[in-house]
């Protein structure tokens, strides 16, 4: 193995560049080093001004997502040695506006998330808690995979529909809606369906399926979106065919 590897990092400094430009660096290549370690090495030893987000470096906080050789990845869980002999191309996550260097603006997602009501909705109003809601391991398993989303935004970066139509609610938010729908403690699926049945809800999705393939936590947003379409269709047909009294 070579003892160093080239990293081509896309940089954008709003006070200096009119558009993002690639800059080449050379970093030590060590088996245990991730792309994030490479970036930290650049920041510590070569250029302090390089900006990127990171925190937990164990693949759970969701802040270090970037496009590595064109693929959205968590850089703390992507090893430099997998790209030897290089170069490794590191760019900000696709489909989001770039604030600086490798940092993108995810305000749009933060505004969309509350719209799908990702919290437990009940019809009973419990004020005094005297015990847990019973939930069997099977009922837990039904939504567990959808509860693994770390909001890392890789799925948005992989989704061409979101890139082309920023109104689209998008994969992670819809997967989280599905997470609560599938939760046996929740009664809010109708409310969420009312949001997602709108045209910027699930209908923009053309099932590219890339959101699911890039998800580092094996959540299946593509599946969730398709199931929502089916649910919306079933409910619509029911509403259309059945008299009011028989619905639900």
């Amino acid at each position: 193995m070579d003892d160093s590897i080239a990293m081509q990092v896309t940089r954008y400094r709003p006070d200096k560049n009119s558009q993002p430009v690639p800059v080449d660096y050379e970093v030590p290549l060590r088996t245990e080093w991730t792309v994030l370690d490479g970036l930290n090495h650049i920041k510590a030893e070569q250029d302090e001004t390089l900006s990127f987000r990171w925190s937990c470096r164990m693949g759970i906080c969701g802040s270090c997502g970037m496009n590595v050789n064109g693929e959205p990845r968590l850089t703390c869980a992507t090893f430099l040695s997998d790209y030897a002999p290089g170069p490794v191309r590191v760019e900000p996550l696709a489909n989001f506006p770039v604030v600086k260097d490798l940092i993108v603006d995810i305000t749009d997602f933060m505004e969309k998330l509350p719209r799908v009501k990702p919290w437990i909705i009940r019809d009973d109003d419990v004020t005094e808690i005297d015990g847990e809601y019973i939930q069997t391991p099977e009922e837990l398993e039904a939504y567990q995979q959808f509860s693994m989303c770390i909001n890392c935004m890789l799925c948005y970066a992989a989704c061409p529909v979101y890139g082309l139509d920023p109104d689209f609610v998008g994969p992670a938010a819809i997967a989280l809606a599905e997470r609560y729908d599938l939760d046996s403690r929740d009664r809010g699926s109708r409310e969420r369906l009312d949001v997602l049945i709108e045209k910027e809800g699930v209908w923009g999705c053309t099932f590219v399926g890339e959101c699911t393939s890039v998800c580092p936590k094996h959540v299946d947003p593509a599946g969730a979106i398709q199931r929502y379409k089916l649910k919306a269709a079933q409910e619509s047909v029911k509403a259309f065919l059945l008299p009011k009294a028989l619905r639900r």
Partner: protein, 584 residues
Amino acid sequence: MSEGATTAAHDVLLVGGGAAGLRAAIAIAETRPDLDVAVVSKVYPMRSHTVSAEGGAAGVMADDDSIEEHIYDTISGSDWLGDQDAIEAFVNEAPRELLQLEHWGCPWSRQDDGRIAVRAFGGMKKMRTWFAADKTGFHMLHALFQTSLKYRAVKRYDESFVTRLLVDEGRVYGVVSVELATGRIRAITAKAVVLATGGCGKVFPFTTNANINTGDGMALAYRAGAPLKDMEFVQYHPTGLPFTGILITEATRAEGGWLLNKDGYRYLQDYDLGTPTDKPTLRSMELGPRDRLSQAFVHEVEKGRTTDSPWGPIVHLDLRHLGAKLIDTKLPMVRELCLQYERIDPVTDLIPVRPVVHYMMGGVHTDIDGRAGLDGLYAAGETACVSINGANRLGSNSLPECLVFGARAGRAAAEDAAAAPAPPAAIAAQVSDETRRLEHLLARDTPLDDGVARIREELQTTMEDAAGIYRTGPSLEKGADTFQALRERVGAVGVRDTSPSFNTELVAALELENLIDIGECILRSGLAREESRGAHQRTDFPKRDDERFLVHHTVRRDHDGNPSVDRLPVTITRWPPGERTYGR
């Protein structure tokens, strides 16, 4: 960032968006919907370090368990330095908080009949640790964050870094913050401020803590004149992955994992922690407390019974006998992390581990309702020291601590805010001072041969050498001397990145100021405690000394800017100090 500061005003301001901060926000939104609440966090709330907690959250639930036993375990775990009134309140309220979280959607692992499952944990006499597989913190944080979205009245300032508390005549009136994306300096006034910024693991080189854990809240309070408490007590977690420091949860041992030295020998039996059994025994061997296990590791190194690795000596954690099925259902993340970062599979391979800085028992001195040393100032979570953890925290007590004391601080802050005076004119001057200071930092040229990253690295190594698992008077003195030199360099360092937008170098420079203050407090408190208790082990004073040191140390900044250490009595109600025994 030259247009000067913009201003916003709220009733209660929460600094930090992890478990404690969000729990406080929801508590206020629920109990006082008339109040205007805001959360300011330097990362998006779901990135907060709560997300990394793995093993679980303790709360008395099982029929064979009792409040009394959880209290006793916590007190003896703290080596009798925890305040017993606080511990009682904590243990009493933890189950309700955990149930509340269940009602908010936290996917707790379940028994076959659908009731909450509990697991064993280190230093706990009964199985009382609630868990969501081994991603408990992640699930708790996301449940709290998503639930918080329901309360539209709660404002958020995401990715805003708080640089200073606004204080006039002993009362806190808000903060000055930098909005990272734009570099805009913003004064946010509030009638009460709750600090919930988490721990300070980044004071050390090798830590399970995230990059963001730079002791910001502690440093803010300290610089504003509030005392910190129990700062000499830094917890090493016995099982971190070498190189990365990634945490391998204590739940691995609770589920039956063994710690082996290079001879494949369960060495803990040599350190008064009981005798090995095939199935895990509560409060024994691998289920002993973290301080004792980390100390045993150091002795194994001294005896030459550890394995060498490129990152220093290691021992092995053996899960192979647990089988793939148990590992996949109860410890899936451990397997994931090992496969990813060590390229080994715990189902068939031994996991290399070593102790790693994990948790700060000390923090902003508060009372049982989170009141810190200044009017209108509150703290909760790892930032705070109530103290329930004393000289050593038991695993799975920290998550419920965030909930119990987050809610308490939130409610108390809300009451306070309802009656608090409006901010005085004097704070405007502080805002312009702070704005000038930040602008000066940006404009200052950094010495060519120095920089934030270099100083931080030296600071961290100094801390490791001076105040590791074992300390001595001379090691602490030497560290404190080195800090004098480091402080001068911190004062001279500037930033090369001059752009206002997302200036991570500026943030790192400001964090470095926090690290140096906190590091110094740790060293000074450690020097003052001439005994060994819990996580504070002095080889020059190897015994616990209740005569002289059954007290908290508070550390406050004196008029010359130096830390001055004082004593504060420990609250002892019903449980007189006794011997800490495990495995017998």
